[in-house]
């Protein structure tokens, strides 16, 4: 299904619309408060952004060097480092490791990269049970769906839908639920997932950052599932992108003043873990084996290209939380792993520009995303660049190309242009009804389904200009 069809379906889904309308003001309000709190400590958000931007740029400028240093230091600390060119290779490696260690169940902490690799499907096909343990991920896994948001995977689900999923999965009758029952439902999921943490032989996590200085994975979570899957199972596999490196613990500290605030408005997330190597001598807990899988899957090709800025992304979700298009459609309409403005840039770049022609156009150009992005990624500019590339490669549909050519032909003939525009504005004037507005736009009534069009004066710009000059 194409973006247009998916989007149309989403806009008409009242349950989804209800869930989205509820979430948006919460996301926006929390972030605004979190960012404002920086001033209490005399911290300047813009200065922090610039610092974060330059930390990420510094890494990308020498990524070959930083990867080499990270790999060396991670190995010295006792971890193994593997590399994956694409999603299939990630899946093959994880299944291979799981089989070598006799794994029958893998407990997963949230990892968007594992969605890129369709890792759950690959594990299941190999007879290994993947269990998502982030509550939101658990909900979408029960529903057989993909996450619709990078930090709030089940934001599109209402409490009623979640209750139905829990009742079925946990083998109990469905009950009527209100928001007062949310703690009880969370408890129920906690009890079920606790057993999985304790019995899984493998834990799979992403990494919010890789610290070059120490060869560590940094994991930022609120629920504590990230700590569980990296502490209890015998084997821990970290699946993460090659661009996630930051040089030092100081650089990490700077990014941690921005990431939780931008994501959920928190000054800090409940659990921030730096994981280095494996269980040490005398340790009573922790994995015996830690394996990093550093994934390319399209990232390296962005280096040195017009899209390099996108690699600075720290996956905070602020761009989608402030996007009017995202909150009209929800994340699934975007069709691949990453939704919202960052997805509209990443999806075409990672899956092929010709495979996601609509996404760079799924923007009102309001630049809310560019304003909130903590690492100053110029998202609208990147979307415009992708639109230009589509035109240069002749990827736009023939009707659009024909229309533009026709317009260019007319625009070079002033007399004809004036005659046509005069006709058009007179037509618009004629559409104005008793309310003084255009309530049904004749040729394309869809435009006025949800709003009226303001009435024009019935005169073209040229006519108004001439009249004003005479006055």
């Amino acid at each position: 299904m194409h973006f247009h069809a998916r989007a149309a379906e989403r806009v008409r889904n009242p349950v989804l619309q209800k869930a989205l309308q509820k979430a948006k003001p919460l996301f926006v309000g929390k972030r605004a408060k979190g960012v404002a709190s920086l001033a209490d400590d005399g911290l300047d958000f813009e200065l922090l952004r610039s610092t974060a931007e330059s930390i990420r740029n510094r890494v990308l400028a020498d990524l070959d060097v930083w990867l080499d240093i990270f790999e060396t230091r991670a190995r010295v600390s006792g971890a193994e480092v593997l590399w994956a060119r694409d999603g299939d290779e990630v899946a093959r490696l994880v299944v291979d490791i799981a089989q070598r260690y006799g794994v029958t169940k893998a407990a997963k902490s949230k990892s968007m990269l594992s969605e890129e690799a369709q890792l759950n499907e690959a594990l299941a096909a190999a007879g290994i049970r993947p269990v998502e343990t982030d509550l939101g991920e658990y909900i979408v896994q029960l529903a057989g769906e993909a996450p619709s948001h990078i930090i709030a995977p089940a934001v599109h689900k209402t409490i009623g839908e979640i209750e139905a999923l829990f009742a079925e999965a946990h083998g109990r009758p469905e009950q009527p639920r209100t928001s007062a029952d949310i703690p009880a439902m969370t408890q129920e999921a906690r009890a079920v997932l606790r057993q999985h943490f304790l019995s899984a032989e493998m834990g799979i996590s992403g990494a919010n950052f890789l610290i070059a200085e120490t060869g560590s994975a940094a994991l930022v979570t609120n629920e504590g599932n990230g700590r569980m899957v990296t502490t209890l199972p015998r084997v821990h596999v970290v699946v993460t992108g090659i661009e996630k490196i930051v040089p030092t613990l100081e650089d990490f500290s700077t990014l941690m003043r921005l990431l939780p605030r931008s994501a959920t408005g928190q000054t800090i997330s409940n659990y921030v873990s730096l994981l280095t190597g494996t269980r040490r001598e005398g340790d009573q807990d922790g994995p015996e084996k830690t394996v990093f899988i550093l994934v390319d899957n399209g990232r390296a090709n962005l280096l040195g290209s017009a899209w390099q800025d996108m690699l600075r992304c720290i996956r905070c979700g602020a761009c989608m939380n402030h996007c009017p298009v995202y909150f009209s459609l929800g994340g699934h309409a975007y069709g691949w792993v990453y939704p919202g403005p960052m997805g509209s840039v990443l999806t075409p770049l990672y899956t092929g520009i010709e495979n996601a022609l609509d996404l760079p156009h799924a923007s009102t150009g309001c630049n809310q995303c560019g304003v909130v992005c903590p690492v100053r990624i110029p998202l609208p500019k990147l979307m415009h660049g992708l639109r230009e590339t589509q035109v240069e490669r002749g990827l736009r549909p023939w009707r659009e190309r024909f229309a533009l050519r026709a317009w260019a032909w007319v625009a070079r003939r002033p007399a004809l242009y004036r005659w046509l525009t005069r006709g058009a504005v007179r037509y618009l004037r004629w559409l104005v009804d008793g309310s003084g507005r255009i309530r049904v736009f004749g040729m394309a009534p869809g435009w006025t389904d949800g709003r009226d069009l303001a009435a024009g004066s019935g005169k073209t710009f040229h006519e108004l200009y001439a009249a004003r000059k005479r006055a």
């Binding site: 070598r100 709030a152 689900k157 922790g286 390319d296």
Partner: protein, 225 residues
């Protein structure tokens, strides 16, 4: 156990990265990067008072804002009685698992039976110390180790941490400086903990006690000035 041979993927990816980076002198740049790692620089720092009284007030404030409960005692030896009072007032069990650093206190006298070991699923109360604590955000830093298993602060429903006032630092950067100075190498896990575990995944409603502890109680230890 050995893992699959993976050098082909590694070479191909690094080759692509090198072409993207498009810079010569790998060794020179690598040496410069290594050198930069030995002299890390800090980003913008919060302006905050750093005398002990200020750190203590700020830590208590921020920790409470993140839904931990906080109390103070003057001497470490008073901690077991404080823990006992807390457990009683919340109707919690007096069986606890503890890390070795705090296991030596006289828990029996306070009527608490303490097992010094890693935690298991059945443990309902976990007692730990901390490596240090960060006043900026009201955060504990716990290091994993033979004496300080990470599970003690993770599996039990209630986590109680003893926080010596002398171990309060201002920022996360200060905490890392202390790790470098006192531990040298990174432990397997550095866990920054800020209150009870939480989730907002059902209709964006915040619920405490997702997978980790539902309750975090902090006992500050040291003279009040």
């Amino acid at each position: 156990m050995s893992l699959p041979d993976n050098t082909a993927a590694r070479d191909e990816i690094l080759d692509r990265v090198r072409r993207g980076v498009a810079r010569q002198d790998f060794e020179v740049r690598r040496a410069a990067a290594e050198a930069a790692l030995t002299a890390p620089t800090r980003g913008p720092q919060p302006h905050m008072a750093t005398d002990t009284a200020a750190l203590r007030a700020r830590f208590a404030d921020k920790a409470a804002a993140l839904a931990s409960s906080v109390e103070s005692v003057v001497r470490l030896a008073e901690a077991p009685a404080a823990v006992a009072r807390y457990l009683e007032s919340h109707g919690l069990s007096k069986q606890a698992v503890a890390t070795a650093e705090v296991g030596a206190l006289d828990w029996t006298l306070a009527g608490i039976s303490v097992a010094v070991r890693a935690a298991v699923d059945a443990d309902t109360v976990g007692i730990s110390g901390c490596f240090c604590a960060v006043a900026e955000t009201g955060t504990l830093l716990l290091c994993s180790g033979a004496e300080t298993p990470a599970t003690v602060s993770l599996l039990p429903e209630t986590h109680i941490a003893l926080v010596p006032v002398a171990r309060l630092v201002a920022t996360m950067e200060d905490a890392f400086a202390l790790v470098r100075a006192e531990l040298g190498d990174m432990p397997r896990a550095l866990n920054f903990i800020s209150g009870p575990s939480r989730t907002g995944d059902i209709e964006q409603t915040i619920v405490l006690g997702a997978h980790g502890p539902c309750r975090v109680h902090l006992i500050l230890i040291g003279e009040t000035s």
